[in-house]
Symmetry: C2
């Protein structure tokens, strides 16, 4: 009855602020392991194998794909990125909570592999706000923005798979919400069975 | 699809610090309506009728019982305590979240009437700590303390009915946990269906 780790998954459209929220939450809430992705791209200066990424050849990567070793994987430009199942499983078995940032497409796969995973969807409270933010980035042309909005609409379709909806209109509020989700999931009785049974069985 | 209020129920053995936690949580988390219990016991110094309790005579109380006006009621020592139904239902229908402090026996009744209620059990992390605290109160003789501990053991038996276990070894931590439970329950997709459906249905 040793406590298992909880798997937290953050998703949301580009421009929702997932990365910023994730960084802040990891600092504010202790005891969260990040999953190290596998990639086929070449290490950049300063990147260490096993810390920043697990660097693999195309063949090694495809062999992992064929062996169903990824929770999800995506191709970006000519490179592939994947989230290895084994590592996540190991953390959870050791009682360490894990947090992942994953595409909505991967969320269904997560549910299959980890039915107990806690799925959190991060989004501004409206499509208009998302659109406004993508405009303000200023680093991307109109075509890229339109593409991101189109992808966002697709991503919203999978919202029903998610347990929580963390609104990111205000960063501090959103960090507070995601941190609260982690704290409260840790307080669930089903995640404290050992203590609960100890108290129930007092003679 | 108008959002209904969420019903939060706090229970736990005498000496667990429920009252103190409840007071702090209400201050820290906004938008919680408190249900005021009806009781036949005499007011303690400083307790105000209609604020801390609705103080009633035994006859008045039994007439409410006969009129089915209680969501739940229990007898403890020689006193009776009841939660008036109408008040809670009205708040929830209006979309206001409600928080109740209720005996474990009452919690089972709540579950029957409100399957969606969120049940939180507050307790020190051990029976020894609970026992130590009851000793330190100093206001009660040994017989009362022993009785309270006996009741606590019974109360722990119903722990499996609860969704959350909020450990109160450190008051600040416990307040943080209960506040996080409220924040995260409010962020559940099922409690934000209107917004979720709006995002899903963007064309």
């Amino acid at each position: 009855m040793k406590r298992k780790g909880i798997l937290f998954v953050l998703s949301g459209p580009s421009g929702a602020g997932k990365g910023t929220v994730l960084g802040r939450v990891i600092k504010e809430v202790g005891g969260l392991a990040l999953s190290v992705s596998v990639t086929t791209r070449a290490p950049r200066v300063g990147e260490i194998d096993g810390i920043h990424y697990h660097f693999k050849t195309e063949d090694e990567f495809m062999s992992m794909v064929n062996n169903d070793e990824f929770l999800e994987y995506v191709a970006k430009f000519k490179n592939k990125y994947g989230t290895p199942k084994a590592q996540v499983r190991e953390h959870l078995e050791n009682g360490t909570d894990v947090i992942l940032e994953i595409e909505t497409k991967g969320a269904a796969n997560i549910r299959r592999s980890f039915p107990e995973a806690v799925l959190v969807f991060i989004t501004p409270s409206s499509y208009e706000e998302l659109s406004r933010r993508l405009s303000q980035r200023g680093t991307e042309d109109e075509k890229v923005r339109a593409l991101r909005l189109k992808i966002a609409r697709t991503e919203y379709k999978s919202l029903r798979k998610y347990d929580y909806l963390a609104i990111n209109d205000d960063l501090d509020e959103c960090v507070k919400t995601v941190s609260a989700i982690i704290t409260s999931e840790r307080a669930k009785r089903k995640n404290n069975l050992e203590l609960a049974e100890k108290l129930i069985n007092i003679e």
